[in-house]
């Protein structure tokens, strides 16, 4: 069933590619440390949106120099990371390097962008800066720790595991070492947050794991929203197999106390846990907030629906989870679509060609057991410069066939993003 990482590497030619053959830049980050000669696009963030955009600018016009800023040396996929919690997959099977992107001629600097200067068209890094003609910003989400009392102070004692990585593995380990009969508590933040069905896929995976491996244990889901936010009926149906899962809607978690091992809800209920997973409320990545790309809510970035240019600053295009205002979910699939669209737009603009009208599409698969999955599909069109939904379609029921398709999706889209 599993497409193992090794198989994936073999079938895509991953790994053999030009690791270190291009780039290999260790810049002294002072002054204009990489003077611009021709047209240049700088991309902030090498996740689902940014990696796609960087690659597709190069595919669209190889004469454009593309510099990608990303602090992480590896790309770890959030999609499928819930399956690490149930032990069905390893994190390694969804971890990729940036070698293939370099092969497309993307220059990668593994540093975080410090700030953006829209008027000077510069990105600050360390003590230096990079000049751009076009900037594509895809920094994902940042957590609003301050919304949950005690969360920031709790540090690693309370995990979010909402950016796939070490926290995912740590949470899986906590679940494994919990004794049978223990109580797992997870919290779902209010919308809008990254991946609407994600928390419910996670709840399904944890419930499946407990049912299979720790049958006397239970899972309590404290949801800030009144009901399951996405694929509601399908998740509810799946959960009929999990009497160990207790869902409490309109139960926003406002406080966590890792000493007493309790969380407190807005209603004043205190719930004791053995293992806790608090998914904090979210906003756009910090750099977008600091660069004044966010709206009055100080959370998300409004963009033009065709060009993804920020409504606040010219020549800065924001994509992925950081955006708001389009009728699309914050998903990897949408970030990938926005990456391709913004790349085509930026290439057209830099070449003085008309801007293409490209609506995004979305598919979110969710695994509800070790074998079965469900999906929601959304397609869109552009009407008078606005993205509108043509249709949303759900799988009629959970099935192994949908799970098999989700593996096909993962392999294809990982390759599209980072291959």
């Amino acid at each position: 069933m599993n497409v193992t990482r090794r198989q994936f590497l073999r079938t895509t030619g991953f790994g053999v590619a030009a690791v270190g053959a291009l780039g290999g830049c260790a810049p002294a980050l002072k002054g204009d440390f990489a003077p611009k000669t021709g047209k240049r696009v700088v991309v902030i963030g090498g996740g689902w949106g940014g990696a796609t955009a960087a690659k597709y600018v190069r595919l669209g016009d190889p004469s454009i120099e593309v510099i990608l800023l990303e602090p992480n040396k590896e790309f770890i996929s959030c999609p499928f990371s819930n399956l690490v919690l149930s032990g069905i997959r390893t994190l390694d099977s969804m971890t990729f390097n940036y070698g293939r992107l370099r092969g497309h001629g993307v220059r990668i600097i593994h540093e975080a962008a410090g700030s953006i200067e829209p008027a000077a068209k510069r990105v600050r890094l360390g003590e230096g800066w990079l000049q751009y003609d076009k900037l594509i910003v895809s920094p994902g989400v940042e957590f609003q720790y301050e919304q949950v009392q005690g969360l920031r102070e709790a540090g690693d004692r309370v995990l979010h595991a909402w950016k796939a990585g070490p926290q995912t593995v740590a949470l899986a380990n906590q679940l494994q070492s919990m004794q049978d009969g223990g109580v797992v508590v997870m919290s779902v933040p209010p919308v809008a947050y990254r991946c609407p069905p994600g928390p419910y896929e996670r709840a399904s995976q944890i419930a499946w794991y407990l049912k299979t491996k720790k049958p006397r244990s239970k899972l309590i889901v404290l949801d800030a929203n009144p009901n399951v936010v996405s694929k509601t009926a399908l998740f509810r149906k799946a959960w009929e197999a999990y009497p160990n899962l207790e869902f409490r809607g309109s139960n926003k978690v406002v406080k966590v106390d890792p000493g007493a091992r309790t969380v407190t809800t807005e209603l004043g209920d205190t719930v004791k846990y053995d293992v806790v997973n608090v998914i904090p409320p979210q906003r756009a990545g910090t750099i977008a907030v600091d660069a004044d790309l966010v709206g009055a809510d100080k959370r998300w970035c409004e963009v033009n629906h065709v060009t993804y240019e920020s409504v606040k600053h010219k020549d800065i295009h924001v994509i992925g989870d950081s955006t708001i205002g389009l009728p699309v979910p914050k998903s990897g699939n949408v970030a990938n679509a926005m990456g391709k669209i913004s790349a085509a737009v930026v290439v057209a603009m830099l070449n003085g060609r008309p801007v293409p009208q490209m609506p995004p599409g979305n598919t979110c698969y969710s695994w509800v057991s070790d074998k079965e999955a469900i999906a929601v599909v959304n397609v869109y069109r552009i009407d008078n410069g606005k993205v509108v939904q043509i249709e949303q379609k759900l799988t009629p029921a959970q099935s192994p066939a949908v799970a098999a398709n989700s593996l096909g999706w993962a392999q294809s889209i990982w390759n599209d993003v980072i291959g």
Binding site: V3, T11, T12, A17, A18, V19, G20, A21, L22, Y56, L59, G60, D61, P62, G103, N333, N336, A337, K340, I341, A344, P356, Q357, M358, P359, P360, G361, T363, A375, V377, N378, V379, Y380, R381, I390, E391, Q392, K393, L394, T395, P396, A401, V402, A404, N405, L407, G408, W409, Q411, S412, I413, N415, D416, G419
Partner: protein, 195 residues
């Protein structure tokens, strides 16, 4: 120059159609969403998603119409076919037809291929001796498609779940009903292995 750089440059030189650019086809802007599942330029490398690169335009358009009308049920493809039709089905079909098909990299089991070749006699009348199909009759090219995809489609035909009740596919489904379950994987492996 390092060995890797050299290999990389040689690969670049070997890339077909370097002048045109991989995104320059006028249909690209309408077909770009499809790569999330069907792979770059429709060359799916996965087991379950069919390869669209090089697909006959009439068959591709018929497939999209069948998905959009709900005749060929697929929760993924019903919406995406509507999107493609909204954007311009001729451009989308033209884009995929213009791409060079790269057969699936997933190797088929040699013994299964041999058994499948023997079992394929009943298929030849329509799909041809080389499995390339018949564009005039909208019979698809099966060669190089991933075996798991082909096997799944054979099962759907057998259970009358692909385009159920479609009178045009009556003969095909009668042939499929006679295919024993334990031959499905063999037939799929055989056609997948053809080039």
């Amino acid at each position: 120059m390092t060995m890797l750089t050299l290999v990389f440059l040689l690969l670049l030189l070997a890339a077909p159609d370097a002048a045109a650019g991989p995104l320059d086809h006028p249909g690209y802007a309408k077909a770009f969403s499809c790569s999330a599942c069907h792979g770059f330029a429709g060359n799916s490398r996965s087991a379950t998603m069919p390869i669209l690169a090089g697909m006959n335009t009439a068959y591709l358009k018929k497939a999209l119409q069948d998905y959009a009308s709900g005749m060929r049920p697929s929760p993924e493809m019903e919406p995406y076919s509507k999107m493609a039709i909204h954007l311009g089905v001729d451009d989308v079909a033209g884009y995929f037809a213009a791409q060079t098909k790269q057969p699936t990299p997933i190797a088929a089991d040699a013994a299964a291929v041999a058994r499948g070749r023997t079992a394929s006699q009943v298929c030849v009348a329509c799909h041809g001796p080389a499995g390339k199909g018949d564009p005039a009759k909208n019979v698809p090219d099966l060669t190089g498609q991933p075996a798991a995809y082909l096997a799944h489609q054979i099962q759907l035909f057998k259970a009358d779940r692909r385009s159920p009740g479609d009178p045009a596919l009556k003969q095909l489904k009668e042939v499929m009903k006679a295919v024993p379950d334990n031959q499905i994987a063999d037939l799929a492996a055989y056609y997948s292995s053809l080039r």
